[in-house]
């Protein structure tokens, strides 16, 4: 597998904070979990109604999803297994590498 399969189980999750409190909590959570922020590029740009896309490892994404459910925050899982999408980005290259 590409990248030694390190992204297996990683997720990309979209959250749009509905108010300032949610935005602050989200910033805190992202910092704690040390997620990879896809958008916006900086945690300091997270405000109410700003689309946030985060890439989180297998373990971190479980913790993040648990937190979001408990906080009643809406979220969407954009990518449920990042490794699979990486392999699909350039399928011919992935095949050549495996061969």
């Amino acid at each position: 597998h590409l990248y030694n399969n390190r992204y297996d189980g990683d997720k990309v999750i979209r959250v749009v904070p509905k108010n300032d409190d949610e935005a602050d909590e989200l910033k805190h959570m992202y910092q704690q979990l040390q997620v990879d922020l896809w958008q916006p590029s900086s945690i300091s740009n997270i405000w109410k109604d700003i689309i946030t896309d985060v890439h989180a490892s297998n373990m971190s994404s479980e913790a993040l999803l648990t937190y979001l459910r408990q906080a009643n925050m809406e979220y969407k899982i954009l990518v449920s297994n990042l490794q699979q999408v990486i392999e699909k980005q350039s399928p011919s290259r992935a095949k050549r590498k495996r061969r």
């Binding site: 990248y3 954009l78 990042l82 350039s90």
Partner: protein, 311 residues
């Protein structure tokens, strides 16, 4: 094989460099390759200059356009587009009157990979690496090459933490890649009239300012060009792009190349955020390279013709 270069696939740094050498050798009437410096890890910073030499009865100088891709390593669609642009320019020079006019009247500098160290690292180690690969005193690597320009350096939207993805760097132009491009553009600033930098993902055409909400002095002109460009994109496959100043359309940030270029006298300065809006994000499948590049070509040609007609 170089002869069957696949423009609908993503390529490693080595493949892109071989391709640039090939284009330079095989299309010397339209393409001239040169290096403007070296990256932190010692890689050449290659630029392709496109355009015909002015004939003797025309002006001895031509206006110029600068395009760069790959400032952020993980945004692979950028370098893919830069390559597509060069291919299209060469292939359609004789058949497309618009492209012929562009290449006869202008020079276009295309830098397919502004951040070669980071790009290579995103292929070999970390697919989602964003920054350069410089290392100073601290434990973490890299600087955000789009926060390192000498314009409101390290203010809003940039971080002083070397481990952050938006780390501005120890000082402006600390990154040799940024310094090399800045020096080149500054030297050619009397001739360069359009600056375009390509990023992903958000589907937007953006212009200054990033660091403040005030309008630029030639707002009407630039806004009109951006509006026509998004209409051109939409005309291809119906994809909607938004447009506007970076600060109010995306978010506040400082030290970005689009603001630096504008403040250095380049009147049309744009940042393109290419496909998509999050379904694939940075992992846009190779099957979507073609439509993304086709629509983006229309926008770039549109902006260029806007310049030639004058606002």
């Amino acid at each position: 094989s170089i002869l069957k270069y696949d423009y609908e696939d993503y390529h490693t740094l080595e493949e892109i460099e071989k391709w640039m050498h090939h284009m330079n050798r095989s299309h010397s009437n339209l393409v001239h390759m040169f290096s403007i410096g070296t990256s932190y890890e010692g890689r050449p910073l290659y630029v392709l200059k496109l355009g015909t030499k002015p004939s003797s009865f025309r002006k001895s100088y031509k206006r110029e356009i600068w395009m760069d891709c790959g400032i952020h390593a993980r945004e692979w669609i950028g370098p893919a587009f830069c390559q597509w642009f060069v291919k299209e320019a060469i292939n359609t020079y004789k058949s497309d009157p618009v492209m012929k006019k562009i290449l006869d009247f202008l020079y276009i500098y295309v830098m397919p990979v502004l951040n070669p160290d980071g790009y290579r690292y995103s292929w070999t180690h970390d697919r989602f690496w964003r920054k350069t690969r410089s290392k100073m005193r601290y434990n973490c690597y890299g600087v955000d090459a789009n926060r390192n320009w000498k314009v409101k350096f390290c203010e809003e939207g940039a971080s002083l933490n070397p481990c952050d993805n938006t780390y501005c760097g120890p000082y402006a132009e600390s990154e040799p890649e940024v310094k090399a491009v800045a020096q080149f553009i500054h030297k050619r600033r009397k001739f360069i009239k359009i600056y375009i930098t390509f990023h992903a993902y958000a589907q937007m055409i953006l212009y200054p300012y990033s660091y403040q909400y005030d309008d630029i002095p030639n707002f009407k002109c630039v806004e009109s060009a951006a509006q026509k460009a998004v209409q051109a994109i939409n005309s291809a496959f119906g994809v909607r792009y938004r447009h506007g100043p970076v600060a109010s359309t995306l978010y506040l940030s400082s030290g970005s190349s689009v603001d630096w270029a504008y403040n250095n006298g380049i009147p049309y300065s744009f940042a393109f955020e290419l496909r998509d809006t999050g379904y694939y994000g940075f992992l846009l499948p190779d099957g979507l390279i073609r439509p993304t590049c086709i629509e983006t070509m229309l926008a770039v040609k549109n902006i260029t013709m806007h310049l030639l007609k004058k606002c």
